[in-house]
């Protein structure tokens, strides 16, 4: 995390990268900080528009759930799926220890 004091509306790249579970090198931090400050400054343009009383659009088509009969059917082949995993144990995905 950066210790330098920033304007509250500035992006703190090191902090946001931590939220995104993305390790950055010192060079990347410096480079992205400069580039993203410029990009954030640009997209802040959106605040100049009069948006009072405007409903947000999340999606352009009305979405409804699609239901099917509650019948079992073939899923993906387990071996084929596990073949894509970087580490497998006992037919399951293996990850580093989580709980001591």
């Amino acid at each position: 995390m950066t210790t330098e004091k920033r304007d509250s509306s500035d992006i703190d790249v090191a902090y946001v990268a931590h939220l995104a579970r993305l390790h950055l090198t010192a060079d990347e931090r410096e480079c992205f900080q400069a580039q993203l400050e410029q990009i954030v400054h640009y997209v802040r343009k959106i605040g100049e528009a009069d948006l009072r009383g405007v409903e947000p659009t999340a999606h352009v088509v009305p979405i409804r759930n699609i239901f099917r009969e509650d019948e079992s059917r073939e899923g993906l082949d387990r071996d084929e799926v596990l073949a894509n995993a970087p580490s497998v144990i006992l037919e399951q995905f293996q990850v580093p220890r989580i709980v001591e």
């Binding site: 939220l19 993305l22 390790h23 954030v40 997209v43 894509n84």
Partner: protein, 477 residues
């Protein structure tokens, strides 16, 4: 056999008449790839053996009297769509080694009509970029000038079609990624309306904006591929249950009774005079074909790039959370716990542009900033949709440039991401509004680089957009 200028429809006629076999066709395309692709870099993988065996099966099916709208015709597919048994890297190191266990719906529909899956085309990593320079493997060069970009993110698909290395290709368009490279490389590219083609099996970048579409050598070929891929899909709740017209059969050759709008905000200071002149000439030609031209206004255009880069990156930051080194692809070595593993895997697996967009998207969604950025961008999206609704009350389709300039030089914008984003000004609006857009070649600049005409139509207005494109294309032939 010369496949350099053969269309998909033309090749289909050769096959139907028995003038050639699918094996001969696929062999000719594979030969063209071998001769040309070292200089272009359009493909990431070509599986000639598999393509030839699909071609043999198609020839046998034809001999047995079976039909298919694409029987025996080779199609290249952007490396972001799952094709069973093939890699799907999304041009990222994080998916190196991944083999698709299933077909995307669009791919399954192409296969059901007999198409031959030939190979996987290059792209900007996870479709994030406008030049295909963000591929983790190699850039794609413009077939018209090797020191210029092919455009992006579907640059491999566009270059393959333009360089004679594919009869047709499939791309995806989140903010112009079909139309812009089609324009830069001089081929036809269609971004269907949101919901026209199922996204099942497409590796998601921005789920409310992504669409799959064809990149071809003729508007008729684009119509043919669209009618095969389009339609409802139980696997994608956003694939709209609307009838799929026989687009290719309904193409018109004159434009009598058609009203075409010219949005004044799409002709701006700083754009290339040659691009503006080519689009103006195309507009006059459409008038000569019988169309009435009206001036329209899309007043919120100036906010489109800002709204787009907020919404697209926000959605991307969520979609790319799935690349964590657990279920597929690359995992960094030496992690002590899962959190460390995620951070290291993503650090080593993603390229710079993907990292920038994940950070920007995470930022605009983070506590305290959501209303100022994401919510405001969604409100702007409503205003941009309303702009188009109002315009389409006055006309059937809009004629605009695809891009403010022709293809730029490799490396010209790589260190200035904002400059790269600003070039998307004329294409991102269609994705935000969910409407359809077609890019059709309409000329070239003094250096011989192609210029594209963009034809925008209302949501599910592909028939009119394709007809305008077809009539225009025929008038130039």
């Amino acid at each position: 056999m010369d496949v350099k200028s053969l269309t998909l429809t033309g090749a289909g006629e050769l096959l139907a008449r028995g003038d050639c076999t699918s094996v001969e066709l696929v062999t000719a395309v594979a030969d063209a790839i071998r001769r040309t692709d070292a200089a272009i870099g359009a493909y990431l993988t070509v599986d000639e053996e598999s393509a030839l065996s699909q071609a043999r099966a198609a020839d046998e099916a034809r001999a047995a009297g079976r039909m298919g709208r694409l029987l025996g015709l080779p199609v290249a597919v952007k490396d972001v769509l799952n094709v069973r048994g093939q890699p799907c890297t999304c041009a990222s190191r994080i998916l190196q080694g991944y083999l698709s266990p299933y077909d995307a719906t669009a791919v399954a529909r192409l296969r059901a009509e007999g198409a031959v899956m030939l190979g996987r085309t290059n792209m900007d990593e996870f479709a994030m970029g406008s030049s295909t320079e963000n591929s983790a493997f190699h850039p794609t060069r413009n077939p018209h000038a090797a020191d210029h970009v092919a455009g992006g993110s579907s640059g491999g698909s566009a270059a393959a079609v333009a360089a004679g290395e594919a009869l047709a290709a499939i791309g995806t368009d989140t903010g112009g990624s079909i139309r812009q490279p089609a324009s830069f490389c001089g081929c036809v590219g269609l971004k269907p309306s949101y919901g026209r083609v199922s996204r099942y099996g497409l590796t998601a970048f921005a789920s409310s904006l992504d669409q799959i579409g064809p990149m071809t050598r003729s508007v008729r070929d684009a119509a043919l591929l669209l009618e095969v891929m389009a339609g409802r899909d139980p696997m994608d709740s956003t694939a709209v249950d609307a009838a799929v017209p026989p687009y290719a059969a309904r193409l018109r050759e004159d434009l009598r009774g058609v009203r075409l709008g010219r949005p004044r905000e799409y002709f701006v200071d700083g754009m290339s005079a040659e691009v503006a002149a080519a689009v103006d000439a195309a507009t006059r030609r459409c008038r000569d074909l019988g169309a009435e031209i009206v001036e329209v206004s899309l007043p919120h255009t100036e906010y489109a790039v800002a709204a787009y880069y907020i919404i697209a990156t926000a959605e991307a930051s969520a979609n790319l959370a799935r690349f964590d080194g657990v279920r597929y692809g690359f995992r960094a070595a030496g992690a002590t716990d899962p959190i460390d593993m995620y951070g290291k895997t993503r650090a080593q697996g993603f390229g710079a542009e993907v990292k920038r967009r994940i950070i920007l998207g995470t930022y605009v969604l983070s506590s305290g900033y959501y209303d100022a950025y994401y919510l405001s961008a969604q409100k702007m999206r409503t205003l941009i949709r309303r702009d188009f609704d109002a315009a389409f009350e006055r006309c059937d389709a809009l004629l605009t440039p695809v891009t403010p300039t022709t293809a730029f030089r490799l490396g010209e914008k790589t260190s200035d991401p904002l400059a790269m984003y600003l070039g998307d000004i004329f294409t991102v609006t269609a994705n935000l509004a969910g409407i359809c857009g077609l890019s059709v070649p309409c000329g070239a600049d003094a250096g011989g680089l192609p210029i594209g005409l963009q034809i925008l139509g209302p949501a599910f207005g592909e028939e009119v957009v394709l007809s305008v494109g077809h009539a225009f294309e025929r008038s130039r032939a």
